[in-house]
């Protein structure tokens, strides 16, 4: 079975001319279907760049990234947008829409897949909120939810469309210890239940023991690969 992500010889630069600076050097990376991979490294090591390249949010400059069997290098913007619909994003900040209730926020993750009847989308959203333990908060606006609850809504929004790959960027950075553990367990549990592949960027050591594989990035190079299974 093909890997969900296969990155080969990935180089990336920021800026141009005099200030052009290389951020990634010959990065190779594979994500197996259903795996839970943690990408570690100090700030500025290029973790986020890797994530945005795999997440189709930046164009690939040099090297090859195959995502779900499709080459991202040279792909059109429309193609990248279509691929993004098969991914789930979780950000450091929850990035919920403050004018929408928890249910409506999660519905946005359903409606992006096409015009779904409103009742169906709503049902799916309420189900997803139930899975993250927020059945009693479905009609709350984000302003009335705690930090951990908001991040759980964001997890529900990312997972409601049954994505093939979940990309999470320091999802626990803004959370206390218990909420952080909750959110990671949730990702891990839902991942193994649905066969979802997860790539999680963090420098939070509390998360490491849940990973199948830990990649360490330093100065744009992968310096360590540690398999836990």
């Amino acid at each position: 079975m093909e890997n969900v992500v296969d990155a080969r010889g990935l180089n990336h630069w920021f800026g141009s001319g005099e200030v052009k600076k290389q951020a990634l050097f010959d990065v190779n990376l594979t994500l197996k279907r259903g795996s839970f991979t943690v990408l570690m490294g100090p700030s500025g090591s290029g973790k986020t760049t890797v994530l945005t390249l795999i997440g189709c949010l930046r164009g690939v400059q040099d090297g090859s990234v195959r995502l779900l069997g499709q080459e991202l290098n040279g792909a059109t913007e429309a193609h990248l947008v279509a691929l993004r619909r098969r991914l789930g994003f979780i950000f450091q900040a929850h990035n919920l829409h403050e004018s929408l209730t928890a249910t409506q926020n999660v519905m946005m993750g359903v409606q992006v897949l096409g015009s779904v009847p409103d009742a169906t989308a709503k049902q799916a959203a309420i189900h997803a909120l139930g899975l993250v333990g927020l059945s009693d908060r479905t009609d709350y606006l984000p302003a009335n939810l705690s930090g951990g609850q908001k991040q759980r809504v964001a997890v529900a929004r990312a997972l409601v469309g049954n994505p093939a790959l979940v990309l999470a960027d320091e999802p626990t950075a803004a959370l206390d210890k218990d909420s952080a553990a909750d959110v990671v367990d949730l990702l891990k549990r839902m991942g193994s239940a649905r066969g979802t592949t997860t790539l999680l960027v963090t420098h939070d050591n509390r998360i490491l023991d849940r990973a199948d594989r830990i990649l360490t990035l330093e100065d744009g190079r992968i310096v360590k690969v540690e398999d836990r299974t």
Partner: protein, 390 residues
């Protein structure tokens, strides 16, 4: 509203939820749109009333053809016409009758304030030229210094006007002579005067000794019924040997007067600009609201972009907002605009009123210009880059 938008756009009404999230700002935005609507309504109302007021005096007479001086762009404009052309026009077999029409403004000292009456001098022996709405009292004008007064004239009290009857006439002094009003008709204040008055041509000439009976301001002609007016107009143009004269059908003369007032006179141009400025103000207000809203939600939009929403989705959100602002701002705009026009009409006695066609065209304009503003505001969306979220 929320459900309607949901059905219309086939998705969550994000624009509506976003706009109504901050009630104060939403109210301010609606007030802005309503204000622009009121501005346009008032300017349009004045423009329309100017049109109605321009056409109003033409209703007082019945004629098929009007002959005026070459520089007579409006009823009260330009030089006079020699009476000899009336006699010459009568030579045409299809012309049945003709009358010279005299016209000038007469000041009337009303104590606290002077009013100005646009006074028509007519031939009392030719009642067929006077519209039936003036009434059958034309014989009253046979008396020297008799007048039929506009009971809607500005500055004339309602009761005072209602008391004017042949048995209880109202005498007043003007131009050094004493006129006696024996009857009234419903004229209405215009832009050129505060009201109207009808007198006989003899009385008119005694009020204005410098004017001559041989030179009325306009010549009105009546034709045999059923005769094509334009062909008679064409014939008269060759028959009358003064090429500088304007010979037009009576309705054409009225329309040309209207066009002249709206496009060539400062008042018409000023109110036309007023409408334009109202539209621009509305455009800027809606653009400002929408672009601020886009800027405030760049993070959310970037998130939606990352999730895989395409440019059409964002366009439709902004259009949804434009639609909401346009529709909901129009309602208070219509209410306030109608109130202001009614009040202004009462004070000025100009025919100022909200008409359904005015409301409909302003509504359509509001929707169109809101959408245009929305389209301009979406340019800011380019700044929502999902790669910046990490």
């Amino acid at each position: 509203m929320s459900r309607l938008l949901q059905a219309l756009f086939g998705r969550l009404p994000i624009g509506w939820l976003q706009l109504t999230h901050n009630r104060t700002r939403f109210a301010a935005a609606l007030a802005g749109v309503a204000f622009a609507n009121v501005l346009v309504f008032v300017q349009l109302g004045i423009m329309n009333s100017m049109g109605a007021a321009t056409l109003r005096p033409y209703d007082f007479f019945q004629a098929d053809i009007m002959i005026s001086a070459g520089d007579a762009n409006a009823l009260a404009d330009g030089g006079n016409v020699a009476r000899q052309w009336l006699l010459q026009a009568m030579a045409d077999p299809d012309v049945t009758d003709g009358m010279g029409l005299f016209l000038a403004n007469v000041p009337w000292d009303r104590g606290e304030k002077d009013i100005s009456l646009t006074t028509f001098g007519v031939d009392p022996a030719k009642p067929g030229f006077i519209a039936p709405e003036i009434g059958g009292d034309l014989n009253l004008l046979q008396v020297q210094d008799a007048a039929i007064l506009d009971r809607l004239a500005r500055g004339l009290g309602k009761e005072e006007a209602a008391a004017i009857r042949p048995q209880t006439p109202l005498a007043f002094e003007t131009q050094g002579s004493t006129l006696t009003a024996y009857a009234t008709f419903a004229g209405g204040g215009g832009f050129g005067g505060d009201g109207y008055m009808l007198v006989s041509d003899q009385t008119f000439l005694s009020l204005f000794p410098a004017r001559s009976s041989a030179a009325p301001d306009h010549i009105l002609l009546q034709l045999r019924p059923g005769v094509p007016v334009q062909s008679v107009v064409a014939r008269l143009k060759t028959l009358i040997s003064d090429p500088s004269l304007r010979i037009r059908s009576y309705p054409d003369a009225a329309q040309e007067d209207l066009r002249y007032q709206q496009t060539r006179r400062p008042t018409g141009i000023i109110f036309g600009f007023g409408v334009l400025i109202g539209v621009l103000v509305g455009l800027v207000i809606v653009y400002q609201v929408l672009s601020t809203d886009v800027a405030d939600h760049l993070r959310e939009y970037a998130t939606f972009k990352a999730m895989g929403y395409g440019p059409q989705f964002f366009l439709s959100v902004v259009f949804e907002e434009a639609l909401v602002l346009g529709i909901m701002g129009f309602i208070p705009g219509l209410v306030v605009g109608t109130t202001i026009l009614t009040l202004m009409g009462r004070i000025t006695t100009l025919p100022l009123a909200m008409t359904p066609s005015m409301a409909a065209s302003v509504f359509l304009g509001t929707i169109v210009f809101s959408a245009v503003s929305g389209a301009i505001a979406t340019r800011r969306l380019a700044a929502a880059d999902p790669a910046d979220l990490f």
